[in-house]
């Protein structure tokens, strides 16, 4: 009650405020009083209890708003209905509120609490709409409330609410730019979102708030690429435009070596353009093979991912999406691949004329750079009599750009038809186009000129005038041949009235007066007569003509010239007066005239370069195509420059997704299980990344699809997990089917322990299976549908077989690797794993590494016989089968002394050729090392037949650091960036010490050089035997005999510097233990402690 009374008071207050405002409203003017009365009855209706009356009132108010009438004085009466039960009334109140809140800030605050309540509603749609309206109220005071609401909504369970939060970000930003930093945090969070619903909106927010923060995109780049096809159309446009800019900063110019292999590449690539996309992978291989030989440029797989995932969108029904993809290809694709966009752009020409207008502008720009692209579609640019003039002119522009020696005759024939059109602007443009064709193509210059001269006798003055202007330009190129034409044109001065044409003729006669010595003075005579009636530009040309004639033929024209100059002296236009004065000083010799008059002839009759007739669309491509700025040829507000390609590619590893992202996952245990399955998963998943949902839609029965969709909405982050589980289930089914085959086929190490892994994990998985089944109902239904739908599996398999390495699978692999190996998280594929990152990572991912270490060790428990270091060797992946196009390479630290150089660590590499063709000339190149490091390359493997395996040993002197050795692994066709990074334990070799020696050495390495760490031993590793085994697995140390069974001692020396490394594990009651490491090199010591600790605690 108190609230309503407050309202009434407010109402009284505001209507008195409202009244004068209303009086100013020009729209109401005369019927002011009656209008005012009407408002009164509206207020009454709004105050009534009946919803129908309220609704009627609101409808009338909204109609007023729509007509642009001011309805702000009704604000209090309307606002109190914000909590009305009737949905339509409520919606209309929202409409009103958003429209007038800015003008009535204080009153608007009264509605806020309703929305705040709405934000807590259990229904996601109500939460979303509350946030939507709240954020649309442009009142500065509520900025903190909005900020809070956005932050909350950004972590809402429902992706729809998160989407709304993304929409709210630019609203808040425009209201209060001070909030930028906080908003960027929210954007960063939302960018990590994995649902298609959010992706478009958040990128939109990103573009409005912080387009310069390109670093936020790195981690999400691959995800965005893969989601793209399922994002709604409008989001696609925004994402594609943003990714274009991103790619320009992150990748190398694919056309950088264009000039080098212009002809060659064209031939090599020809096939690849025409073929269908299914075989794209194959083609790429073929196409890239020779390229690799010829030039060092290799396209970043991420760059390729973007191009591949955007291509199908060329078939979107939305012209904006097609245009966005077209500009992306134009700016980013290798020259030979750009051609694919032409067809789609030509298709857009059948759309509405506004669409045509924009598309033709862009085609005009493109056709200057890449003429060949549109040549096959020449006829599509022929002009129809029904086209609007602006479209006709643009089509002419494109036709002119496309003209070359071979097609010029057809184009000119078309032009001749156009000249007969009734649309005179279009005819003028056609004549100019003919002029441009004539200048560009020498062969037809004479034909064009003759044609244009014929036009001089046209009945339409405009046509004649335009022809004169163009002929003038053409004649300048070779005047001596065409004195006839000049004479002909001189005659025209009697008839033509268009100033520009008259001026052109006069200029021509003046310029070439030597070719027409008889006519020129006569023309001047006529002009002198009509001087006062001429337009300004004609007057200026008359003065010019007079001056030139005076200089060449002063005998005949002296008097005429003086007459003209005198007329000009008293002209109304100051330009003409100035010109006359200037010319008089220059040409008429007086005693005072300076040095300049000597050169007058040179000044006036200098040889003028012929004008270059060029397209107005030249050089417009420095604007991003498809943008407003490009269309206007001027920078629009908020336009983001398209950056130039970088000289050298920035570190591509920034796009690798870090592990911590995954720790968010609800159940760690489940996660682990999944990782075991990853290699298969990623093969198919990564390949079909973008199509994933589309595929599953088609493969699985639609019912389950819906189910998962709904479930997704119901449970925010969980949904992601369940999706993956579905995937996992599929994989499981498949795996069960082909288990025997799998081992041999597996691209991962086929070593004994690996197999145990699988088995073990299978077991564990089936345990967790039931658990996860309970968690999501949809999952089981999904798997059922999968069972029935065997087609789906077949397809998946097919895909897995033919798949190519998009970065995503590699990423996933990395995660999988984590399980098996401790430190090599970045080794996978980045050519330049930054040295700073790696060690940090190895520490940060601590907990995970611990997990993983445990797993691998438990394997060892299963095979206790193998204590020799060799058997415990872990192998790491150097090159994944998929990325290596069939070639997979693994390496392990063999712990054997490397005979050629004692300071080097021996790395044993195993090459497996899974491809169908043989690999030749395997060798390494282009080794990039930190200072001090050295590498002894492995001998070249000349031939590796398909399906075979070969081993080679290389030596690396890591200089006692865990920095990675980066190099290129080359086959006869391809180069792969790979890197090897050693775990610290491999940087030492065992030494044999006696107990006394050990104690002595240890005594010398005290203080700073000693690191002690307390730990609790893993339950499985409380006996001496296991401890020894675990320590020696983690580090290449040898056991030192020891009297006490409570202590285990180990010793080694670093490989390069030979510094002693001593480790002691002293066990106590109840699993407690103490680890002591003594080492001169503190960094090594610290890292070793961590590693050993990990090994022992799991």
């Amino acid at each position: 009650m108190s609230a309503s009374s407050a309202f009434n008071e407010e109402k009284g207050g505001s209507s008195s405020v409202g009244e004068p405002e209303y009086g100013h409203d020009p729209a109401s003017g005369g019927i002011f009083s009656s209008d005012y009365k009407r408002h009164d009855d509206l207020k009454e209706m709004l105050d009534s209890n009946k919803d129908s009356l309220k609704l009627e009132a609101m409808k009338r108010i909204v109609a007023m708003i729509a007509r642009g009438k001011n309805a702000s004085d009704l604000f209090p009466a309307v606002v109190k209905n914000v909590a009305c039960k009737n949905i339509e009334v409520k919606k209309l109140v929202y409409v009103y509120l958003v429209r007038y809140a800015e003008e009535q800030q204080d009153l608007a605050l009264l509605s806020i609490s309703t929305f705040q309540r709405g934000l807590k509603d259990p229904n996601q749609l109500i939460r979303a709409s509350a946030l939507r309206v709240l954020s649309s109220i442009r009142v500065t005071i509520i900025v903190p409330i909005m900020m809070l609401a956005i932050k909350e909504a950004a972590s809402d369970m429902s992706p729809y609410v998160r989407k709304t939060a993304a929409h709210a970000i630019p609203k808040l930003y425009s209201l209060d730019p001070e909030q930028k930093d906080q908003l960027i945090e929210v954007i960063e969070k939302l960018l990590a979102d994995k649902t298609t619903l959010v992706a478009g909106s958040v990128v939109m927010a990103f573009e409005e708030v912080c387009p310069e923060r390109i670093d936020l995109i790195h981690k999400n780049y691959r995800k965005l690429c893969n989601l793209l096809i399922d994002v709604e159309e409008w989001g696609q446009v925004v994402i594609i435009n943003m990714l274009t800019r991103y790619a320009r900063t992150q990748f190398l110019n694919p056309n950088m070596n264009e000039s080098l292999l212009e002809e060659g590449s064209d031939k090599t690539f020809y096939g690849s353009d025409e073929d269908e996309d299914e075989e794209e992978e194959e083609k790429e291989k073929k196409a890239e093979a020779p390229m690799a030989k010829r030039k060092p440029y290799v396209m970043d797989p991420d760059h390729r991912l973007l191009l591949r995932n955007t291509k199908p969108l060329l078939q979107s029904r939305n012209a904006a999406v097609v245009m966005a993809v077209a500009q992306l290809y134009f700016h980013l694709a290798p020259k030979v691949e750009v051609g694919v966009i032409a067809k789609a752009l030509v298709r857009l020409l059948r759309s509405h004329s506004e669409v045509q207008y924009v598309v033709l502008q862009n085609v005009a720009t493109m056709s200057i750079k890449r003429r060949g692209m549109f040549e096959p579609y020449l006829k599509s640019f022929y002009i129809r009599s029904t086209d609007p003039t602006q479209i006709k002119v643009l089509k002419l522009e494109v036709l002119t750009n496309l003209a070359n020696e071979t097609n010029i005759s057809t184009i000119l024939r078309e032009f001749q038809t156009y000249i007969k059109s009734m649309d005179k602007d279009f005819v003028a443009a056609t004549i100019q186009a003919i002029g441009r064709c004539a200048t560009n193509i020498g062969e037809v210059r004479d034909t064009c000129l003759n044609g244009l001269v014929q036009l001089l006798s046209n009945r339409d003055e405009l046509v004649v005038a335009e022809s004169v202007v163009v002929i003038k330009k053409l004649l300048q190129m070779q005047p001596e041949k065409h004195s006839d034409i000049i004479k002909h044109m001189a005659k025209l001065t009697d008839n033509i009235q268009v100033p520009m044409a008259r001026a052109s003729i006069l200029w021509l006669i003046g310029e070439y007066c030597e070719h027409v010595p008889k006519i020129a003075p006569d023309v001047l005579r006529k002009m002198a007569k009509s001087f006062t009636n001429e337009e300004d530009i004609v007057k200026l040309q008359i003065i010019n003509l007079a001056a030139k004639l005076y200089l060449t033929n002063s005998k005949q024209t002296k008097l005429l010239t003086q007459y003209v100059l005198n007329l000009a002296k008293y002209d109304q236009n100051y330009d003409i007066r100035d010109r006359a004065r200037f010319i008089r000083q220059l040409i008429v010799p007086t005693e005072k005239s300076g040095a300049l008059s000597k050169y007058a002839k040179k000044l006036f009759l200098a040889l003028k370069p012929a004008p270059v007739l060029e397209s107005p669309f030249k050089d417009r491509d420095h604007f991003q195509l498809g943008s407003l700025s490009h269309l206007l040829n001027a920078k629009a507000g908020g336009y983001q420059e398209l950056p130039d390609w970088p000289e050298a590619a920035p570190d591509p590893s920034v796009r690798n997704v870090e592990v911590p992202e995954w720790t968010k996952c609800s159940s760690r245990e489940k996660r682990k299980e999944k990782r075991v399955e990853k290699p298969f998963y990623s093969d198919s998943e990564g390949e079909s990344g973008p199509t994933e949902s589309a595929d599953s839609e088609s493969d699985s029965a639609s019912g389950s699809e819906m189910g998962s969709g709904l479930e997704e909405s119901g449970s925010g982050s969980e949904s992601e997990g369940s999706e993956e589980e579905d995937e996992k289930d599929k994989k499981k089914i498949k795996k069960d089917l082909k288990k025997p085959v799998k081992e041999s086929e597996s691209e991962q190490s086929s070593e004994e322990e690996e197999r145990k892994h699988q088995r073990k994990s299978d077991q564990q998985k089936s345990d967790s299976e039931s658990e996860s089944d309970e968690e999501s109902d949809s999952e089981s239904s999904q798997s059922e549908s999968d069972d029935s739908d065997s087609e789906a599996d077949v397809k998946k398999k097919k895909k897995a077989a033919e798949s190519k390495p998009p970065p995503k699978p590699v990423k996933k692999d990395t995660k999988k690797e984590k399980k098996e190996m401790s430190l090599l998280d970045l080794d996978d594929f980045e050519p330049a794993a930054s040295p700073q990152v790696t060690p940090v990572n190895s520490f940060l991912s601590n907990s995970l590494v611990t997990d993983l270490e445990g797993l691998s060790l438990s394997d060892a428990v299963l095979s206790p016989a193998n204590i020799s270091p060799c058997s415990a060797l872990k192998s790491y992946e150097l090159l994944h089968r998929i990325r290596g196009e069939g070639l997979s390479v693994e390496y392990c630290f063999s712990r054997q002394p490397f005979s050629p150089d004692g300071n080097m660590v021996a790395v044993q590499m195993q090459f497996t050729n899974n491809a169908t063709s043989e690999a030749k000339n395997l060798h390494m190149e282009d080794v990039k090392l930190q200072s001090g490091m050295r590498v002894k390359e492995f001998p070249e493997i000349e031939l590796l037949p398909a399906g075979e395996t070969a081993t080679a040993v290389m030596g690396i002197d890591f200089c006692d650091s865990t920095q990675a050795a980066n190099f290129q692994l080359c086959t006869h066709t391809r180069k792969f960036f790979v890197s090897i990074q050693p775990p610290v334990g491999e940087l030492m070799r065992p030494v044999f010490l006696t107990e006394n020696e050990f104690k002595k050495e240890q005594g010398q390495l005290m203080g700073m050089n000693e690191i002690t760490e307390k730990l609790t031993l893993d339950a499985k590793c409380r006996n001496e035997h296991t401890i020894v085994q675990r320590v020696t697995t983690a580090a290449n140390l040898s056991r030192v005999p020891c009297g006490s069974d409570k202590e285990c001692r180990f010793a080694g020396r670093t490989v390069t510097s030979g510094s002693l490394v001593l480790a002691t594990v002293a066990t106590k009651e109840g699993g407690a233990a103490q680890l002591t490491v003594n080492c001169e090199k503190m960094v090594i010591g610290t890292m070793l402690v961590k590693d050993v600790l990990l090994a022992l605690t799991q």
């Binding site: 729509a66 007509r67 642009g68 949905i87 919606k91 209309l92 409409v95 429209r99 800015e102 996601q124 749609l125 109500i126 442009r138 429902s158 729809y160 929409h167 609203k171 619903l197 096809i229 399922d230 409008w234 435009n241 269908e276 299914e278 199908p312 078939q315 012209a319 904006a320 966005a324 030509v346 059948r350 506004e354 669409v355 924009v358 129809r384 009599s385 609007p388 602006q390 024939r413 001749q416 038809t417 059109s421 009734m422 009945r459 498809g626 943008s627 407003l628 700025s629 629009a636 336009y639 949902s693 589309a694 595929d695 839609e697 088609s698 029965a701 639609s702 819906m706 969709g709 909405s713």
Partner: protein, 424 residues
């Protein structure tokens, strides 16, 4: 993105405005009116007009200008495409998109615009979602609403927005499950005066009307998909499946929608279904001209050529025309000099002709060009590109009732220019 929208009618009145961000004064439209004055024809107003503080992007549909106000960089096609989508939605809702229809339904229009954009960024543009949010007005519903006071704003929440198939409503039920597909093909050809084709291309669309229960998953295959040079799809069609197998696989929206449009390029020879005999002459020195035009069918495979409409822009010098049509009616507009002849159906036995004389302005010289003739026509039940649908298996378990039957209906429409080029 899009700041505001103004709707302007042919006489230059702003009859609706809507703002999504802070209010932009309607005086910004003055720049538009200036550009409109400069343009000779209504369709020649440039779609993008820069003003000192804003950019105006407009589309012209149904003689209404839809002018969007933009403040900063945005792809122009983005806005244009959206505006066309708005018009399509209005048409979908009100049957026609005229000034009167918009004024009558101003509240619905406002509600629609509110839902379609949020802060200038498109939110819900799928007609299925919108119809769930706001029910289209029908006469019956308007009556019921006025009596019962109920609303045409949907009571249920728009769950479609949350779904992975946002274009389809949930919980669709029909007692009769049907699906209709219309194949409409248009030929666009330019023919010179001797009758040889300069360019011809076929543009086709498949419009569908699907009324199926639940979540049907459909596949559609073509006999000769290679003919389709270039296609664009409704978002419901799975791209990958098309690329791999040339099969259309999709979960359709409910109701009417355009499934795909395709393009058959001019490389494949196109048979033009009619021919034109023409004789248009102006005699030098006299103020008389002769006009003689005969149409006849050609290669129509026995199908009737219907709804033939001939139009021609006569030279400016022509004052009026005294013609005699053997069939149909003709009109000549002396202001625009547009001659229109509504022929109707062509009877192969008795070819339609239009003969007579034209009066020229006294003293005016003979026009030096002959007019262009545009011909529009329709042929039912004939596909020019011969890309017939062959297979119609119904995927998905949900729809088990009677299989939908299909009525392919082909309506080629040829916009057909015959250029009378005397230079050739």
């Amino acid at each position: 993105m899009i700041h505001s929208l103004f709707l302007i009618n042919a006489s230059g009145d702003i009859f609706l405005e809507k703002h999504w961000k802070s209010v932009v004064s309607r005086s910004v439209c003055d720049y538009f009116f200036e550009a409109q004055e400069r343009a000779s024809e209504p369709e020649n107003v440039p779609p993008v007009i820069p003003t000192p503080h804003h950019y105006l992007i407009s589309v012209l549909r149904h003689r209404i200008y839809f002018v969007a106000v933009i403040q900063s960089e945005v792809p122009p096609l983005f806005v244009i495409e959206f505006l066309h989508r708005v018009v399509d939605t209005f048409q979908d809702y009100f049957g026609v998109c005229t000034e009167a229809a918009i004024k009558d339904n101003v509240v619905v229009v406002y509600e629609l615009l509110e839902e379609m954009l949020d802060n200038g960024f498109p939110l819900a543009t799928e007609s299925n979602i919108l119809k769930e949010l706001i029910k289209p007005p029908t006469i019956l519903r308007t009556m019921v609403n006025t009596i019962t006071g109920s609303t045409n704003v949907g009571e249920q929440l728009p769950t479609g927005q949350l779904s992975v198939v946002p274009w389809r409503r949930t919980g669709v039920k029909y007692t009769n499950n049907e699906a209709y597909f219309d194949v409409v093909e248009e030929i666009d050809a330019i023919i010179d005066k001797s009758g040889s084709t300069i360019t011809a291309e076929i543009q086709g669309v498949i419009d569908a009307c699907v009324k199926l229960t639940g979540m049907p998953d459909l596949t559609l295959s073509f006999m000769n998909p290679r003919l389709l040079d270039d296609v664009s799809f409704h978002p419901c069609v799975r791209f990958k499946r098309w690329e791999a197998e040339r099969i259309l696989s999709f979960i359709p929206p409910d109701g009417n929608f355009r499934l795909l449009s395709y393009h058959v390029s001019s490389q494949n020879l196109v048979a033009i279904p009619v021919y034109v005999k023409h004789n248009i002459t102006f005699r030098e020195g006299s103020s008389q001209g002769r006009f003689d035009l005969t149409l006849g069918p050609k290669q129509t495979m026995g199908k009737a050529v219907e709804a033939v409409l001939v139009s021609s822009q006569l030279p400016r010098g022509v004052l009026n025309a005294n013609l005699n049509a053997s069939q149909g009616t003709y009109t000549f507009d002396p202001v625009t000099k547009m001659l229109t002849w509504d022929v109707g159906k062509i009877n192969p036995q008795k070819l339609p002709s239009l003969k007579g004389s034209m009066n020229l302005q006294a003293g005016a010289s003979k026009p030096d060009e002959n007019p262009t003739i545009n011909i529009q026509l329709k042929i039912q039940q004939m596909a020019i590109s011969v890309s017939t649908v062959t297979r119609w298996p119904l995927g998905g378990a949900k729809c088990t009732k009677a299989p939908p039957h299909m009525t392919p209906e082909t309506t080629p429409l040829a916009g057909y220019d015959s250029d009378e080029a005397s230079l050739r």
